[in-house]
């Protein structure tokens, strides 16, 4: 009797075998990404025109706006934004080397703004510093440098310009 029972089971299974008409299988993969320190900078004010207002021989001033993105490493990471004048003003004009061009900084968190700086053609001077594990917003954060140019009577009349290079770095 027991033998017939198992035979019956097999017959039933065989009868339904063709109904098993679907199949699926899987494969697995691990997707990984290594996120490192990065930084980018956009100068929003392509040309900053310095102007003077008020009393005669007041200094010329103007503001250059920046947008930065930054991610520094956890632990010992850091970052900075610096500025450097590529070459001095033309002869008989204001003098970067003579200390005529200074600036102050405004930087949104997580950056720390510089104190007043004297621009230089020979070295990059600070605009902002960042500590470890610093993160800007996904759309970027704002910063600016407000320039002050001495309005010395000895400077000949005319239009003078310099190019300033901003550099952002992150570790």
């Amino acid at each position: 009797m027991r033998k017939y029972f198992w035979v019956g089971i097999c017959v039933i299974l065989a009868a339904f075998a063709p109904l098993a008409s679907a199949d699926s299988a899987t494969g697995n993969t691990t997707v990984s990404v290594t996120v490192g320190p990065e930084a980018s900078l956009t100068v929003d004010t392509a040309t900053t025109t310095l102007t003077t207002t008020g009393t005669v021989f007041n200094d010329y001033t103007g503001t250059t706006n920046l947008t930065y993105k930054i991610r520094t490493s956890t632990g010992s990471g850091s970052g900075s934004i610096t500025a450097q004048v590529q070459a001095d003003f033309a002869t008989n004009g204001p003098s970067v080397a003579g200390g005529d061009l200074t600036y102050t900084c405004t930087v949104s968190s997580p950056g720390t703004a510089c104190s007043q700086q004297t621009a230089s053609t020979s070295a990059a001077t600070p605009v902002a510093t960042f500590g470890a594990d610093a993160h800007s917003a996904d759309s970027g954060n704002s910063a600016s440098t407000t320039w002050t140019l001495k309005n010395r009577p000895q400077i000949k009349t005319g239009t003078y310009s310099v190019t300033v290079t901003y550099t952002i770095s992150a570790t």
Binding site: S24, A25, N28, T30, V35, I70, T74, D133
Partner: protein, 187 residues
Amino acid sequence: MDGRWIEFAELLRILGRGVLVAFLTPAIVNSDVRSTTQTLSASLYPLGKVTVSPALALTRSGQPFSAYSGTLPVNYVVRTTSGGGGSVTLQATSEFSPSGGPSVAAGALTYTCSGATLGTACSGAQTVSTAAQTPVLTLPAGACTGGGGYCSSADSNSVSVHFVMPNNPSWKTGTYAVSVTITISAI
């Protein structure tokens, strides 16, 4: 000798040879050939198999904060029934680990599909999910891998899945990983 006797003697000589041959070839005379038929049948069910690389590293190229990307070749063999069809889907089995970086739930990982050698690759950008399978490929009825003819000529079919992930400054530095399961179904 009479001519008839000569003919009779010749006949005996020939018959004698035949008898000799008959004795020498008993196996041929006694051989037997029988034939029978047997029906062989096989029920071919829909099947699918998918193979992927165990690991894919997304990399960034170009400018800072440009997106991470990487292409995963998906190889598959499949057979669907004349009235069936099939699909290849993709699903993240969990979130990125460790936390502090990209998030599948936030839609950080997307992909496009291209280059399907059998079937139709997914259309447009798909967002990887941990909650549901998302399409990679749709397989038609009566599809089969290899051999040419009504099957594909390639012995193993393939489709490319191109992953893209943004590069948000808010993510902490480090290496993040997520497990992705590719499923092939055939009916």
